[in-house]
């Protein structure tokens, strides 16, 4: 057995051993790249600009950008303290909380949409109480944001939690010895140390909410300018005419690439 292994290893000289890394990577990259290339090639036609720069496309893109940005900001404001508690404080039932927060990541968005309807729909568990105050969430832009928070904010919380928990506790102890209170400890020591995790988590949440479809269509519906986000416009474009769906997809890809480049730049700039 050992003999065989040794001779096998000898077969793998420097060049061949590189292939072990190279071939699987190329195959996987092809799976990501080929559909996108096909999409670009198919969308190039004379109707492209008419389809891509329609008023519907503009409204949908604007709504997508606004809602996903709000979602990311809310995830940051509410998710950072939660992630911090989960990472640094000793509390009971922590693992259950972590399961609760990981669940939306693994659940299909359709389940998320149904769950939101059951909770905040007009006849939902809490929806009927909200109705008493004249608040009705389904079919509103707020419902779009709520669906995105449910589906995408856990990504930020998860990333932030891991970031905070990787910080060596001697930093914490040193800060507390110097007389820092909990806020100073967080703001001046922990948050800067976890900065990269926070930024990459925020990017994940932002891009995931930009692509949110399943929970939104169930919980928020589809109305131009109010709840029709880009993924929804693309899906309905598919019913009308493939050219529209392709053009809108291109616009969304272009916007996503642009914003991802921007966030990468910010991330890099902060590191330097």
């Amino acid at each position: 057995m050992t003999k065989i292994r040794i001779s096998f290893n000898r077969l793998l000289d420097e060049e061949y051993s590189k292939l072990i890394f190279f071939i699987p990577s190329v195959i996987l990259l092809a799976i990501f790249a080929l559909p996108l290339i096909a999409l670009v090639l198919r969308s190039i036609n004379s109707e492209f600009f008419n389809n891509a720069f329609s008023e519907q496309a503009f409204k949908a893109l604007r709504l997508s950008l606004v809602t996903s940005s709000i979602t990311t900001v809310l995830a940051f404001i509410f998710g950072t303290p939660l992630a911090y508690i989960l990472a640094r404080w000793k509390i009971k039932g922590k693992s259950w909380l972590e399961i609760l927060l990981d669940l939306p990541i693994v659940l299909p968005p359709s389940v998320a949409g149904l769950a939101l309807l059951m909770a905040f729909g007009r006849r939902g568990l809490f929806g009927s109480t909200l109705t008493l105050f004249g608040i009705s969430l389904p079919f509103t832009t707020a419902a779009v944001v709520l669906a995105q928070i449910f589906v995408a904010a856990p990504l930020y919380i998860r990333s932030a939690r891991i970031g905070f928990s990787e910080i060596d506790s001697q930093f914490e102890e040193a800060a507390l010895l110097e007389g820092a209170n909990q806020w100073q400890l967080f703001y001046e020591v922990m948050a800067p140390l976890a900065r990269r995790a926070l930024v990459s988590g925020a990017i994940l949440t932002w891009t995931r909410s930009l692509g949110e479809f399943g929970a939104t269509i169930l919980f928020a519906g589809n109305l131009e300018g109010v709840t029709q986000t880009m993924p929804m416009a693309i899906y309905l474009g598919f019913e009308r005419n493939l050219g529209v769906a392709l053009a809108l997809s291109m616009v969304l890809i272009f916007a996503s690439v642009l914003l991802l480049m921007l966030t990468k730049k910010i991330e890099k700039h902060r590191q330097d």
Partner: protein, 283 residues
């Protein structure tokens, strides 16, 4: 180290999203390869198994579910696979090469597009049923709607199918007709009450069933499938008659079976099943 923070996270999302445990599935798959060949042989002895793929409009969900089963019972060895979506979405899928044998559309427009693209032979599509529109409300009728004119009451939550979906298009045509009876701005007032343009008729029905919307304009056949709903009839002169065409597809790999299915849908038996689900038969 922290640079790679996102990587395991992304990987775990990907794996859980697929619902696949990678390592265990690989081993049994490899182990099964030698056993596949011998078991495949005896299958050919029984009547040749055939699969018929039918693409049908969402409104046909219940009726074609039953027709598919009846067709399977009448033709041993045949499995009917049904794919329901808005007719336009199905049409696009067929244009992009989806392996369908039969297309049953809720509008002539989508069928005509396929005829133009030579995916359906000219003059082959036949109208196999008609359907008409109705206004539906949740069982408790939260907006207290009683007559068609109430659809224009400000602030009610109305759900339609998107204009690109046949029933959504028919609903807008009906509203055009109602302008003549209820005043020229009736349609605009009603459309101002629309809170969502759903991607197929069943989604519109579901939103009303859940009580999220106060009303929806759908097919009469949908009410039969959801008897708890309240409804307001639309009189014949204001209604729109939806004519559903059906045809085998030219690229079908089972042309004979496809033709047989179309024949069955148009037979007395098939028509009776459609009538049972609230559609108006043509024969």
């Amino acid at each position: 180290m922290k640079r790679f923070l996102a990587l395991p996270l992304l990987l775990s999302i990907f794996l859980t999203a697929c619902g696949v445990a990678v390592t265990p599935t690989l081993a049994p798959a490899a182990a099964q390869i030698p056993t596949l060949a011998p078991t495949a042989v005896p299958l050919t002895a029984t009547p040749e198994p055939q699969t018929l793929t039918v693409f049908a409009a969402s409104s046909l969900t219940d009726a074609f579910g039953e027709i598919g089963k009846a067709f399977e019972a009448a033709n041993p060895g045949v499995t009917v696979t049904l794919n329901f979506a808005a007719s336009g979405a199905l049409r696009t899928q067929i244009e992009e090469g989806a392996p369908a044998d039969v297309f049953a559309s809720a509008s002539g427009k989508e069928m005509d597009t396929l005829v133009t693209g030579s995916l359906v032979t000219k003059d082959v599509p036949q109208i196999f049923l008609t359907n008409k529109l109705v206004v539906i409300m949740p069982a408790n009728n939260p907006a207290a709607l009683e007559k068609l004119e109430d659809l224009a009451k400000p602030g009610i939550k109305l759900v339609l199918a998107a204009e690109t979906v046949p029933v959504g298009n028919y609903a807008r045509q009906a509203l055009d007709k109602m302008n003549g009876s209820f005043g020229a701005d009736f349609k605009d007032k009603v459309l101002a009450n629309v809170v969502s343009n759903e991607d197929n008729v069943k989604q519109a029905v579901a939103k009303v069933q859940l009580g999220e919307a106060d009303a929806g304009i759908v097919y009469v056949s949908d009410v039969l499938a959801a008897p708890e709903l309240k409804s307001i009839e639309i009189p014949a002169d204001l209604n729109v008659i939806a004519k559903y065409p059906i045809a085998p597809l030219t690229k079908s790999a089972n042309a004979d079976l496809a033709a047989k299915f179309v024949e069955y849908v148009l037979s007395a038996e098939g028509q009776a099943l459609l009538q049972k689900w609230g559609f108006a038969p043509v024969k």
